[in-house]
Symmetry: C2
Subunit: 198 residues, 2 copies
DNA sequence: CGTTGAGTTCAACAGATGATGAGTTTCGTG
DNA sequence: CACGAAACTCATCATCTGTTGAACTCAACG
């Protein structure tokens, strides 16, 4: 079985080049507006090769999104210090991620989620099952309050990311991260641990 | 002068029908993804008629956005009660607008601003010159702090609108408005009148 | 009536897009 | 070496896009 002759699949890094170009394009223009031709162009590759590797534009998008920060690794760090100051730590970590290569994927996901229903579902599920659930699982609050607290936090953080990286409204767009941490941290803290409307 | 013969322009409401269809389409799909053909279709009209009335897709978009809430009318109402409770009043008014017909235009503007540079500029200028400036002009705070306070508020409010009307994350998406007012009002209040990082 | 001009439609162009399938090159293995 | 499979390219299709210009309809005016 499995006669393995022929050229080995351990191919060079053109596959990664395509993924990089795809992430950049999706981040800059969103899913619909980013064209496979343009992606292939900046990757120095024939458009058909993209299909050869990834099959369809949808699957290319999925592949390009497939190295976000692993929430299972980063969330515990944020929670490590206990409930005191968790708001500021969360905002600080959140801001840091957007400046990393994973942030490109995040911007791509956010941009795409706005005009494309299935990418919106993707973002929603990522937020709920990957981030909020992990954070709130380890937080000492009433179980019935978790969803509201979680989505309130999401409200503030997504708004922050939108203003800073998509709409680029000044001075938030180029503000020093620590300034934002001090300003917004208490908000997140209150949403997580403060009193809530009934 | 002005020899006026021929069919009078006192035409029926097909022009308004086009604008309604355009607002709906832009709100649902964003500027790029909304097609003139689809708009003409739901308006029961030939696509060429859209161009006859509005010239180009850009101008159609501008015309469709041209009946937002007049900020010059709504802002004073929010400010009327003084600084106490202005946070809650702002959130309440903000939420109300999105459920009105003008909210459709707002969603359209937000959706479009994400994947289209010139509509993003439009949204940015609307936020800064029409809303934030008016609100902060009448607020008793240090002039140097205005931009930061303003964009922090924008951060929270845009995030709220995004989560409630675009991403539709539960339970924020279908929460009772007053619940959100009580939860988010204090945040806005603090951004406007509370202490700030230096 | 008959001319005028706005309301409206038809047909078509030029460009871009995602996708396909056949073909060519390149290289590891037997 | 020779063969097979993967990496890669070319040409092309069908579709959709915004936009244009010529045509037709028809109510109002002289």
């Amino acid at each position: 079985m499995a006669r393995r002759t022929g050229r080995r699949p351990g191919n060079p890094d053109t596959r990664e080049a395509i993924l990089d170009a795809a992430r950049a394009a999706f981040a800059e223009r969103g899913f619909d507006a980013a064209s496979i031709r343009a992606i292939a162009g900046t990757a120095g590759v024939d458009p058909a090769l993209v299909h050869h590797y990834f099959g369809s534009k949808d699957q290319l998008f999925l592949a390009a999104m497939n190295f976000p920060v692993d929430p299972g690794e980063v969330v515990p760090k944020v929670l490590a210090g206990g409930q005191d100051g968790i708001g500021e730590r969360l905002v600080r970590t959140f801001l840091g991620i957007w400046d990393s290569p994973a942030g490109t994927a995040g911007i791509a996901l956010m941009r795409s989620a706005v005009s494309n229903e299935w990418t919106a579902r993707l973002l929603r599920e990522f937020i709920t099952t990957q981030v909020l659930r992990r954070v709130l699982d380890q937080l000492d609050v009433d179980l019935a309050e978790l969803p509201l607290r979680g989505s309130l936090v999401a409200t503030q953080l997504i708004g922050l990311a939108m203003m800073r990286h998509v709409i680029r409204l000044e001075p938030v767009a180029s503000a020093d991260p620590e300034t934002l941490v001090v300003a917004i941290g208490p908000t997140v803290q209150r949403y997580l641990t403060g009193p809530l409307p009934t």
